[in-house]
Amino acid sequence: MASQATPQASPPASPQAIAVLTRLLEARTGQQLASARAWRIDTALRPLMRLRALETLDQLVHLLLGGQEAALSDQIVDALVNNETSFFRESPVFDSVVEATTALEGEGRRARVWCAGCSTGQEPLSLAMLFAERRDKTGRGMPEILGTDVSEGVIHRARQGRYSQFEIQRGLPIRRAVTWFDGDASGEWIAKPELLRHVAYRPLNLMGEGWPIGRFDVILCRNVLLYLSAEAKALMFTRFAEVLRPGGLLVLGAGETVIGQTDRFQPSARVRGFYEPVVGGGRAVA
């Protein structure tokens, strides 16, 4: 029965091929592919294999190691990272970000918010909608919103601001959908230019160089550090602490914490669930 149900099944990949792929992913992004998620590799890479008429992961790895195709390793990394996201994911967080930002921005100074690991843009756009609604209600200006991600593919999609019917229905209240998006004939929804222009997107590997210049009031890095090694996580926290303004806040995903991971951050006394740099933190060297 099983063989009938899976006509496309290919021979299982060799442990060596899996090892090459997981090492590539970790070297590029810091992301460790837990063995619990290793089954995803085949599914995730299927489209790349089909494009090249390859049957097995081993053949793909062979091609990768042959180095003939310069873009292949990027494409593999793009396909392997987990890009799962949705509008207003864990929605109360977004109201807290707006509140915290409002408290931080002084008269006349424009606040800066950074979504690090923003995937296809639902997170920064959710913020942009709330800030635009705040502007319409109170006349306060828009903050600068930056969205970055290691995957060029998701940044390309985020810049287009096009979402499928499925994506637009996840987390986004219908009133906001019709206010901030246009429907098109193909059933896709496109963020209106007056919303999209409030978010600047650019590719950025958090493990690499080229971090944004200047300081931020709020940094959201949600559901990104989850699969990083302990050392990589500690490095990220150190770097985030350096680019936050005094009083600035770090926001992690619901299942993430700084506790036991770094001495640079502590739970914020001002905003529940957010984190703030420890003054003088990280100076002590063991």
Binding site: S86, S91, Q165, F166, Q169, R170, G171, P173, I174, R175, A177, V178, D182, G183, G187
Partner: protein, 121 residues
């Protein structure tokens, strides 16, 4: 336990919706058209209504208008659930008093997300 009334002339859709809603811990009842739904609501108003657009006897819009003018006007949250996915339809539904709007086809995540938005899940 929250109660949900599924209003759809398709038995298959009602069954799919019932199944999902039960996994989300709703007590589910069904109606095959707007008239039947209105009778049900007057007798036992549910917490939330999943409402199809095109139905014989009384359409989803006619039902919604009648509901919002009735004595239980604001009680049930109404989530339209329809293949009509044009802006004009959506705006008309909101104007008539719909709280949320699901474009078919839908899955568990979509429905759960919409029910959360109306404070029901």
């Amino acid at each position: 336990m929250k109660t949900c009334l599924v209003v759809d002339d398709s038995k298959v859709i009602r069954k799919v919706a019932r199944h999902i809603l039960e996994t989300l811990n709703f007590a589910v009842s069904e109606a095959a058209d707007g008239r039947e739904a209105l009778d049900h609501c007057m007798a036992t108003p549910p917490d939330v209504i999943l409402l199809d657009w095109n139905m014989p006897v009384m359409s989803g819009m006619e039902f919604l208008r009648a509901l919002r003018e009735s004595s239980i006007a604001d009680k049930p949250k109404v989530v339209f659930c329809t293949t009509e996915n044009g802006m004009a339809h959506i705006r008309a539904a909101i104007e008539a008093g719909a709280d949320e709007y699901v474009m078919k086809p839908f899955d568990r995540d979509t429905l759960e997300s919409k029910l959360q938005i109306v404070g029901m899940a």
